[in-house]
């Protein structure tokens, strides 16, 4: 064994068995966000399909919590996390194209490994971001139409037509969010994706999972 081979072997053996994927603060954010979104979807749509209950108070209060969480996430992602890791880049597009071509039997080079997130995860995140920002912005505006312990309603800020547009944006974005949440839960429970779901509980993935699914050059991970 040469000196360089020995060094490589020593480096691999010294590499951590647990690779940190999500900090505790990010996992807490994810699960509080999930509880808020599920509560909001339930209080929004159960009354529509016939399950009648006093939904408005729980809905708007949870909505305010969600708005705070979204602002928190935007600040944290911008300052303390890597925004680039969530932006679709040329590598993601090339990988997606190769995967599609090979699926349909065309000759193409094997797709490379992604960084922390693959192209479809980034695309999903972008879709969720657009929907949530639409829902939060329209929902906060709709608070002007209800009395709360903090303010009195004032429905005259906007004309009837403008209110209609605000309510339409809120409703359409909420229904589209329901579709995306169904897809998110489906991927979370798929056996081949369970290693990712597990990392949202434990915060880490194994070194083997890291080596199998990620490009070290595109995601320089820390040990857990």
């Amino acid at each position: 064994m040469s000196v360089s081979q020995a060094n490589l072997t020593a480096t691999v053996e010294a590499a951590p068995e647990r690779i940190r994927r999500h900090l505790l603060v990010d996992r807490l954010y994810h699960w509080i966000m999930a509880a808020c979104v599920l509560t909001l979807l339930a209080t929004a749509f159960l009354p529509i399909i016939g399950v009648k209950f006093d939904w408005l108070g729980l809905h708007w209060m949870t909505g305010v919590v969600l708005a705070v969480l979204v602002v928190y996430h935007m600040v944290r992602a911008s300052i303390w996390q890597s925004l680039r890791s969530m932006v679709i880049d040329s590598g993601d597009i090339a990988n997606g194209w190769r995967r599609l071509a090979r699926f349909f039997g065309a000759t193409a080079a094997p797709p490379g490994k992604p960084g922390k997130y693959n192209g479809l995860q980034k695309l999903y995140h972008a879709g969720i971001a657009v929907l949530l920002l639409s829902i939060v912005a329209s929902g906060l505006t709709m608070l002007l139409k209800i009395d709360t312990p903090f303010w009195r309603r004032n429905p005259y800020w906007f004309a009837d037509y403008a209110w209609g547009v605000i309510y339409a944006v809120h409703g359409l974005a909420a229904m589209a969010l329901l579709t995306l949440i169904m897809i998110h839960i489906y991927f979370a429970v798929r056996p081949d994706e369970w290693w990712l779901t597990r990392s949202m509980f434990r915060g880490w993935i194994t070194r083997r999972e890291y080596d199998t699914h990620h490009d070290r050059a595109r995601w320089q991970a820390d040990d857990a």
Binding site: I48, G164, Y167, A168, M175, T179, I181, I183
Partner: protein, 55 residues
Amino acid sequence: MQLFRYSTSIYGGSDVMIGASWDLLPWFVAAGAAFIVVHAVVKAFAGRRQADEPR
């Protein structure tokens, strides 16, 4: 099926849009279910094809 809900203005005239139509809700649920079914079938198909490939 309508995309939006409308209400008759108390001042007369044309109807006023008041929000998205809840008739769309089953379609959004169906879209999610369709994606899940198609993805599961494609993954099963791709997995079987990979298993059949000579090593």
